[in-house]
């Protein structure tokens, strides 16, 4: 069996734009499910107009964001808000196992394609709805985006960590699309739970996957400090244990963890037992934390005498949790990631050939295998004529009317 085909029996319709819904669809598509992406006629998915572009040339087939998020899918252009568009969308739904959407909550109902309507057409259907705040509750209709959902979570409050001057250090969004992405993987997990449920009972269901709740679920230590120990969580460096942050070395930064005594002993060994580290303030974790500023200062002075590679190699030999702080470019050229084939080169007829991250996790039998993203409406003929039984004349009429 083809390794990438473990979900090849599944048909997925994706009516989603930008990041959260499309990433959820990508997870299914890269494992062999047929994912038909329904894009608005004209401009298509908004992500097609989003930087970065190959060669910095804005073009609907050259957005790196779009190309990455839509690997292995088929693209059709269809406007389900029109009566004819809705009929065709329903025909797609009748044949589908899963529908993924990230429209504003309530939008699908307003256009006559809410869960109850779709379920009546296909009782086994799984509708996966990704949204900023959920399909119910007082924030249901609030506008969200990656920055807002991330910032509202406790993980967002605590980014960056170890703040010295809270007036100057405003909370930062995570690089990448952390809130959208964890909403996407949560929705995909939810749809998979629902598939297991369907296989046992025959019933489909509606998955409500909000990005904010998903990213909020990543702050369990910070929550428990408050809900169990009764201490409001603080993002200040002064309230964190010493010894878990990027530290300068001779040619860059290393990330080293020396909170517990065993690690601190390994660190001393790595630094050749400098006399400065024999002082009384270094004797245990409590004392190191109480004297955080001076302790940190002395250790960083010692680390700054060595190169990154030396510190990491020798430190790891001593059992010290220490690693390099790479830039994204350094990571992209890293020999370990290369040895693991963490990136895969993909050809695209318009955008060209370059590497992409291969998969979120690696699998020995059914590894996700991304193939190039579709061009806008590339599969219109195949799906409308072949799958939905439209005639060539109908397709032309729909194109003229802007429905396709």
């Amino acid at each position: 069996m083809d390794g990438s085909a473990s979900l090849s029996d599944l048909k997925v319709v994706e009516y989603a734009q930008m990041v959260s819904g499309p990433m959820c669809g990508k997870l299914f598509a890269d494992m062999g499910a047929e994912v038909i992406k329904v894009e608005p006629p004209g401009a298509g998915d908004e992500a097609r107009c989003h930087p970065p572009f190959a060669g910095d040339q804005p073009h609907p087939e050259k957005s790196g964001l779009f190309l990455y998020l839509n690997t292995s899918k088929k693209s059709i252009t269809l406007d389900p808000t029109t009566p004819t568009g809705a009929i065709l969308f329903k025909r797609l739904v009748e044949q589908a196992d899963i529908v993924i959407e990230n429209q504003p909550p309530g939008f699908m109902e307003r256009i006559g394609l809410g869960y109850e309507v779709l379920r009546a057409l296909n009782p086994g259907l799984i509708l996966a709805s990704v949204s900023p705040f959920g399909q119910s509750g007082p924030y249901r209709d609030w506008k969200g985006c990656d920055l807002v959902e991330w910032a509202m979570s406790l993980t967002g409050y605590n980014t960056p960590t170890l703040v010295v001057d809270p007036e100057k250090e405003n909370p930062l969004r995570a690089p990448g699309r952390a809130a959208d992405m964890i909403g996407a993987t949560t929705a995909a997990a939810g749809a998979m739970f629902a598939l297991f449920h369907r296989e046992a009972t025959g019933e489909g269901q509606w998955i409500d996957a909000p990005c904010w709740q998903a990213v909020t679920n990543t702050a369990k230590i910070e929550m428990a400090i408050y809900s169990y120990a009764g201490m409001p969580f603080s993002r200040l460096r002064a309230s964190a244990p010493a010894g878990l942050e990027p530290s300068r070395c001779r040619d860059g930064y290393v990330y080293v963890l020396w909170v517990v005594d065993a690690h601190f002993e390994a660190l001393k060994e790595l630094l050749g037992h400098p006399p400065a580290l024999a002082a009384d303030i270094f004797k245990d974790a409590g004392s190191r934390s109480q004297n955080d500023d001076i302790v940190r200062h002395i250790i960083q002075q010692e680390l700054a005498k060595y190169d990154m590679e030396h510190l990491v190699r020798e430190g790891q030999k001593l059992g010290l949790p220490i690693g390099p702080v790479h830039t994204v470019a350094q990571a992209a050229e890293n020999p370990h990631l290369e040895a693991r084939e963490a990136f895969v080169a993909i050809d695209h007829p318009v955008a060209g050939r370059f590497r992409y991250p291969r998969a979120l996790v690696r699998m020995t039998a059914t590894e996700p295998a991304p193939r190039r993203a579709p061009m806008l409406g590339e599969h219109n003929a195949e799906i409308f004529l072949g799958r939905l039984g439209c005639s060539a004349e109908e397709l032309t009429a729909m194109r003229t009317a802007g429905i396709v």
């Binding site: 970065p52 995570a174 297991f196 190699r313 040895a339």
Partner: protein, 406 residues
């Protein structure tokens, strides 16, 4: 309680701390029988984490950090550093569908938890290994470390800082949760594959690769254009304003993101349409993006006078994407999280009544999840060793004395 989606699946969970336990918890709440394997030699370290103890009284069954990651499971104590302990572990694996571990490679080898060893016990097992940077490849496959080191390795911390400043850490232990959620999807896909073909497999989950795969603009800009996006702050490629702004009070902030002209006009109205908003340098999306530093300064002067919670609601009513940066107290009081059904109340025999986060996804046909209380250490020894593995009471007593069930 209705039928749960994963009923009938058994998970032998040898993992600890965050990423593996989070995977096991999601499987457990959805109905899989999760058997968490600990020992006095390798207790889950979150049981000992001092900052999260209920009412600040220490005890292995009182840690909130452990509770939040381990409800919905059973727990046994089994000492894998003893040969008989490993034998019993393989016996448990023979009765399991999924095995999870997240030890550094040298420790996993020592404990007999490599895929080869586990597969020898059960040919069609689906095994999950979560690690910093994967368990194949070059030296980093052998490294010790914790979640944030993976983010640092793949460039996230370098990209995290304020423009021109040093690398900074992305909050908490982000990679552990990012990988955990991704693994849940893939392990269920693997189980589905096994159901169809009879074939098991090994899931080699690298926290670093998950994090990279969730930074598309950063990766693709480098791969397409050779650009290295460093210390990116809150900058967006298109939106401006797109930042966090100070509010009234100590360390209070609001996030505001404006994606088009209509939202900009809505924001201007909410600010009372001050003179500066009509300046040509803020006239359209591109000008605002180019002059975003001046724009941020102006908006910050306005937000500073407002309460962050009130202002977020006001801006949302006006049609602007905005959200208050919530601290731990505000988060636990948030109306949306309560009304949507995120929080639930645990009544625990040692910790008392506590509010815990539930699943961040709702399934319309699964109204009640398995939220059994976080287990005490070894709470289910009798049930699992005596029941599932069929040991006699005499054997259990002897193995306990010999520090095998330990």
């Amino acid at each position: 309680m209705g039928r749960l989606p994963l009923e009938g699946l058994r998970v032998a969970d040898f993992s600890w701390i965050i990423n593996g336990p989070q995977v096991a918890q999601w499987l457990g709440t959805m109905g899989a029988e999760v058997i968490k394997v600990e020992s006095q030699v390798y207790p889950d370290l979150t049981r000992l984490f001092p900052n999260c103890m209920a009412d600040r009284v220490r005890g292995p069954n009182r840690s909130g950090f452990f509770h939040l990651l381990n409800y919905g499971k059973k727990a046994i104590t089994l000492n894998l550093s003893k040969p008989r302990g490993r034998e019993l572990a393989y016996e448990l694996i023979r009765y399991s569908d999924v095995v999870i571990e997240c030890y550094p490679a040298p420790t996993a080898r020592k404990l007999g938890l490599t895929y080869e060893q586990v597969r020898a016990a059960r040919q069609d097992i689906v095994m999950v290994s979560v690690s910093l940077l994967g368990k194949t490849g070059l030296e980093p496959a052998e490294w010790v470390g914790w979640g944030p080191m993976a983010a640092s390795f793949v460039g996230m911390f370098d990209a995290q800082g304020y423009p021109g400043g040093p690398p900074r850490q992305t909050g908490g232990t982000w990679p552990d949760y990012a990988v955990g959620t991704a693994v849940v999807f893939h392990v269920l896909a693997a189980l589905r594959h096994r159901k169809r073909t009879g074939e098991g497999q090994w899931i080699d989950a690298s926290m670093g690769e998950t994090v990279l795969g969730q930074m598309p603009e950063w990766c693709m800009d480098y791969f397409m254009n050779g650009r290295d996006r460093r210390q990116w702050g809150n900058r967006d490629d298109v939106m401006a304003p797109h930042n966090t702004y100070p509010c009234a009070g100590e360390d209070k902030w609001i996030a505001i993101a404006v994606r088009d002209q209509a939202e900009w006009e809505a924001l201007c109205r909410a600010m009372g349409a001050p003179e500066w908003t009509r300046d040509t340098q803020f006239a359209d999306q591109v000008s605002r993006w180019k002059n975003r530093n001046q724009l941020d300064e102006r908006i910050g002067q306005w937000t500073r006078a407002h309460d962050h919670l009130v202002l977020a609601a006001t801006l949302q009513r006006a049609g602007v994407a905005a959200g208050a940066v919530l601290d731990s107290v505000e988060l636990h009081q948030d109306r949306q999280l309560w009304e949507w059904g995120y929080w639930w109340e645990l009544n625990h025999h040692e910790a008392g009544k506590r509010v815990l986060p539930g699943m961040p996804v709702k399934l319309s046909n699964v109204p009640q999840l398995n939220l059994s209380p976080p287990p005490d250490m070894g709470q289910h020894n009798k049930e699992i060793f005596g029941g599932l593995l069929g040991l006699s009471e005499e054997e259990i007593r002897r193995l306990t004395e010999e520090n095998v069930l330990y």
